[in-house]
Symmetry: C2
Subunit: 121 residues, 2 copies
């Protein structure tokens, strides 16, 4: 499963289950609204988002004594395998962890999808 | 503000506000129950916790194709400045970000605390 990185990155696990693939990303501080999950070029899972420092309290004249948390735009791309059903993708965001589940094709569909018709000339 | 690291680390911002100090840590995937916030040696703010991979789905014979997310125990220590009120510390965990707020002493208390009595022999 090829992984193309661009812009900043965020750590991800990929897990294969009997019926699906899970893509799990650390995205602390992001709301679901700040994240975009797309399929490009038919088999490319693209996850983009932007982390912003919560600076509401700056109005109170705050100043940073230490800055370690990374902020900015990020993107992760994963080439999906052939045996997935792009119609059944779910994304759940909880405690700063985004889990995208892509269902595998059930066997009959998969076989059908792989059928190559041989024409006799 | 000295920062002593031990075990694994997790990124933190420290922000000084007029009335308090904010310690902000990225802890994606952790529940508040997994985190311990303590004051040691009167002025040392100690934050410990442990990240565990959510492996409930392993029962379904899952296997990892990629593992990038860091797991394990972590600890962060911060030496607090003198002008804080250790009685007023709050911790809020939201979207995988932990914010610990330590209130500053109000001025009369601070002055009182710094009074040095000079005895005449």
């Amino acid at each position: 499963m090829r992984d193309t990185r661009a812009m900043a990155s965020t750590p991800a696990d990929v897990k294969e289950l009997p019926s699906a693939y899970d893509f799990v990303l650390d995205i602390p501080g992001l709301n679901y609204d700040d994240i975009k999950v797309q399929i490009e070029d038919e088999n490319l899972l693209v996850i983009t988002g932007e982390r912003r420092r919560d600076d509401e309290k700056d109005k109170e004249d705050g100043k940073y004594l230490r800055i370690e948390r990374w902020m900015g735009k990020f993107m992760r791309k994963f080439t999906l395998p052939d045996n997935v059903n792009l119609e059944v993708i779910s994304a759940v965001c909880r405690d700063g962890v985004l889990t995208i589940t892509v269902e595998k094709l059930t066997l009959p569909e998969q076989k059908k999808a792989k059928t190559i018709e041989v024409k006799i000339a």
